[in-house]
Amino acid sequence: MSAQAPATAPAMFAETEFTRRKLRAQRRAARVLGLMAVAILIPLVTLLAYLVVKAAPALSWSFLTDVPRAGMREGGLWPALIGTVYLVVFSLMAAAPIGVMAGIYLNEFARENWFTRAVNLAVVNLAGVPSIVHALFGVGAFVLFANLGRSVLAASLTLAIMTLPVIIAATKEALAAVPRAFREACWNLGASRWQTIRTIVLPNSISGILTGVILEVCRAAGECAPIMYTGAIFYKSIKEGSLFPYSPTEQCMALSYHLHTISTQVPGVPDSMLYGTAVVLVGFVLVFNSAAISLRVYLRTRKKW
């Protein structure tokens, strides 16, 4: 209605009781939803603050780089930290290529038939298997059958099996987010499926794929059960600050297992060391997470549509 409309015309855009009610409902909904979003911050912040406060007396640079002394009651946790890095790197090397390639196959090449349905079902089910069951599988398959013994390799492969399904799922999801129209445009130009994937699909899904991989690695770093029986060791004497203390065929210390043992098996460990270990473990995961987030932000700025 224009301003020149006769005064008797219905006031179409005037506020009515009905629109006021709708607006009130929207404000209420926004408030509740926002509250929920804030609520997930509360446990994280509380947890971190609690851990850091309790751990404060133990935290220092030498806590990171020193080896455990006096039967774990003094010193640092370097062997466990570097052990976790070992496990993560080896499991990443096994799980990332297999998972990403399997995801590409399942999303881009596989036809809908009983075989792909079976594989997809296996992926979903594998993702739901508890980690202690993965540990049992690792003992059977890698420690005993493949004769790797309890070693970095056996533990890493067990972690790899555990992370594989989520990496596959993340890869498939990232690829599926690339519009089908792009693929069809390439096919119309005579590009094969693989040329299309290489030139168009992968460059636009790589950020999602990498994010999925890194987040899974974080989870692997924190897991204790799968490595307990396949490669983690209570104590190993290595030189402090040494970067290559373990061979892949021997056992290693790991942060999660270290935390488990010093809090349950060793009497007389000062509380601050327990909390300190937890802080390092959480910090390790957070550092990886923020790496994933910055990578995603970087790649998203180059996103093409």
């Binding site: 129209a181 792009f182 445009a185 096919w187 130009l189 636009n204 093409k304």
Partner: protein
């Protein structure tokens, strides 16, 4: 079938998951001419184009029976479907700028064909963009992303891409829905020029566009060819078929 035909379609049936889209059509598309296809929605026009370059095989659940011969060669017997697609330029109604630069969009197919020389690529890109009436608008920003262009520009980019591998057959499916009338006219002029060395299949909902451009026109309805005839006959007051008459005169459809 006459030797002059570029495409011979015989008893072509296509279905998606049991739902029939094309029901045993037989059609001859003459060489170096603009062949118009008109018909209401859901009459199988787009499916026919997807059969011609065999991208229909990429659709899950799609089944095709019957034959299409290009230059007398049965395309469904070919092993190398990519070579077939490189002989056909395809423009679908949804404008798709690939998420690479404008230059790379047009140079995509030539690069697939093995052309690496920068000057040669630049020449192809300019020629195709000019033919698609897009050159003047994008010549200063060939390195922006294809996806950043407006809808109508992306549609002309799609046309430029379809021309970039110098196809023998150009299939246009509603190429002008997002393009303003003046630019559409410019592209139509280019098409009239191109038909001298290219067979053009023009699917359109704008029946007047078919009337302006096509030498022969086919009227599709519900997956079947109702009538094929010289465009003048189809658009005359008495095309000899009640359904055709009603459609082109806007009585149904």
């Amino acid at each position: 079938m006459a030797a002059g035909n570029k495409i011979d379609i015989a008893g072509l049936t296509a279905s998606y998951g049991g739902k029939t889209a094309l029901d045993g059509i037989t059609l001859a598309i003459p060489r170096n001419e603009i062949f118009g296809i008109i018909g209401p929605a859901n009459s199988g026009k787009t499916t026919l184009l997807k059969c011609i370059n065999r991208t229909i095989e990429m659709t899950p659940g799609a089944r095709v029976r019957g034959g299409i011969a290009i230059d007398g060669e049965d395309i469904f017997r070919r092993r190398n479907v990519h070579d077939l697609r490189r002989r056909i330029g395809m423009v679908f109604p949804l404008p798709v700028g690939l998420p690479i630069t404008v230059f790379d969009n047009v140079a995509y197919a030539p690069r697939l064909a093995g052309i690496r020389v920068k000057a040669e690529l630049a020449e192809i890109v300019e020629r195709c963009l000019r033919q698609a009436a897009l050159w003047d608008e994008v010549k200063d920003r060939l390195h922006t992303l294809g996806t950043r262009l407006s809808g109508g520009q992306q549609q002309r980019l799609t046309i430029a891409r379809a021309l970039s591998h110098d196809p023998e057959i150009l299939c246009l499916d509603e190429f002008s829905i997002a393009i303003d009338p003046v630019t559409t006219m410019r592209i139509e002029d280019v098409l009239l020029e191109l038909r001298n060395h290219m067979t053009i299949v023009l699917v359109t909902n704008l029946v007047q566009q078919a009337r302006r451009l096509a030498g022969r026109t086919a009227f599709f309805n519900k997956g079947a060819v109702v009538q094929v005839d010289a465009t003048d006959v189809i658009f005359s007051d008495d095309p000899g078929n009640r359904l055709t008459h009603d459609y082109v005169h806007g009585i149904f459809g």
